[in-house]
């Protein structure tokens, strides 16, 4: 049977996390599903989860009165959605919209923050893994900003 603990253990994000910690993390996890075109979260709302996307695609968007919903990045199977749960004041900075039917595992941020405070080794492990994701997204964003495909002036 495919348990949440087993699914989390197989995800690259939790690779090599010890079994005790994996069990602790699983205690904060639940399966979630979002229909196509529904918002998973909205800018300004309290950020109390992050998601391991198992299926589907999610657009990170910002709303502009002039241009409507602008997608800044899309995420898909295997990606991690959301890190605002980790950083005060714990509010989302973008909208997240399911572009397709999306299945994910939601990790309760409050639950995980509490466990990380109680066990700093766990906290450091989680923080290192998020730092890696943040570094990847920052690098991608910098490349996007370079506008490499534009005509050289």
């Amino acid at each position: 049977m495919e348990t949440l603990e087993r699914i989390l253990g197989q995800h690259p994000f939790f690779k090599d996390l010890g079994p005790d910690y994996l069990q602790l993390v699983t205690g904060c996890a639940s399966n979630v599903r979002f229909e196509q075109d529904t918002f998973i979260f909205r800018e300004g709302e309290e950020a109390n989860q992050f998601y391991l996307i198992r299926e589907g695609r999610v657009a990170l968007q910002v709303f502009s009165p002039e241009r409507g919903h602008i997608t800044v990045e899309t995420l898909g199977e295997g990606d991690i959605l959301g890190w605002s749960w980790l950083i005060p004041p714990y509010n989302w900075h973008f909208d997240a919209k399911a572009l397709d039917l999306t299945r994910a595992i939601a990790l309760d941020g409050k639950c995980l923050r509490r466990k990380c405070e109680e066990d700093h080794h766990l906290g450091y492990e989680i923080l290192k893994r998020f730092a890696h994701i943040i570094e990847q997204r920052l690098e991608s964003t910098r490349l996007q900003l370079l506008d490499l495909y534009g005509v050289r002036s």
Binding site: R57, A59, R67, G68, H69, I70, T71, V72, E73, T74, G76, E77, G78, D79, L99, E139, S140, L143, Q144, L146, D147, L148, Y149, G150, V151, R152
Partner: protein, 288 residues
């Protein structure tokens, strides 16, 4: 090592010398996007078959304006000659005004080819950025015409905006195949766009290839190629299984004039297709 051009002995232009352009007639002009277009050419005289390898380029001469190097974007297995490029400089802007029946001069084909033979029995991941798709199209045709010889075949294509996507119909056809995966991403989306947004390197994790048995072929701006190659290496693809197509100021096309010198090599003769390991140290040298 990338395949070195084997110039067929019966190619008409060779007898005239490699610096003499051969007249070709514009059979068809097709606008691809706002600033890109495709020319379908055939020789004014002689045989219509133009023998070339995927990844090679021609020097295209617009009479009275100038000559530029342009990759061949057609299939090596079909007659005729196809060039797709962007109207960005004096010569390509003049090319964008050509119409059916006009004549251009062609010298070539020049340079090394994509390792389509070496890639047999491997997974092949093709990464194109912006106007980098045309130089890869010949390799895609070759691979698809011998599809059973290859493992997984994946095309990752990144462009600036949805309006800049080249060969839309063809991409749809490739995407509809059961034996090829096509992922497209844009750097900047309009609100109607429902596809992927983000740089092309973010697609590599979606490709699902066997890193130990993968050949990667990359074309795009140099920064994009560098980061893409590093992403492949991060995912355990062997550095000498990664190939890039370089662009420099090619003039003679045969390694004589030195305009395209790239360290100890000439891009026109030793490239444009290089193994990553051949050039990785040169890619980060400011002076080159």
């Amino acid at each position: 090592m990338a395949s070195v051009l084997e110039v067929p002995s019966d190619t008409t232009f060779v007898s005239a010398g490699p610096m003499v352009p051969r007249p070709f007639v514009v059979k068809r002009f097709r606008k691809e996007t706002d600033d890109t277009f495709t020319l379908e050419l055939e020789p004014k005289e002689g045989r219509s078959r133009f023998v070339f390898g995927p990844g090679q380029f021609n020097m295209v001469y617009v009479y009275g304006v100038g000559e530029v190097p342009i990759s061949i974007s057609g299939s090596p297995s079909t007659p005729g000659l196809i060039h797709t490029t962007r109207a960005v400089g004096t010569v390509t802007k003049a090319m964008a005004k050509l119409k059916k029946g006009d004549i251009v001069g062609i010298r070539g084909p020049y340079g090394t080819t994509w390792p389509v033979k070496e890639a047999r029995s491997h997974d092949v991941v093709i990464v194109a950025g912006g106007i980098g798709l045309p130089p890869l199209r010949g390799a895609i045709y070759e691979i698809l015409s011998n599809r059973k010889d290859y493992g997984k075949v994946v095309l990752l294509y990144g462009v600036r905006t949805p309006a800049d996507i080249l060969f839309k119909d063809e991409l749809e056809q490739w995407r509809a195949r059961f034996d090829m995966e096509v992922f497209i991403t844009v750097d900047r989306a309009v609100s109607e766009w429902r596809g992927n947004v983000g740089v092309v390197t973010t697609l590599i994790s979606k490709a699902g290839f066997d890193p130990q048995n993968t050949i990667a072929m990359i074309v795009g701006p140099e920064v994009m190629m560098r980061f893409t190659a590093l992403e492949f290496i991060k995912r355990s693809v062997k550095p000498d299984s990664i190939y890039l197509s370089m662009e420099r100021n090619m003039k003679c096309g045969i390694g004589l004039c030195g305009h395209c010198q790239f360290g100890p090599m000439f891009v026109c003769k030793d490239g444009p297709v290089f193994r990553y390991t051949q050039i990785k140290d040169l890619l980060v040298k400011w002076e080159i």
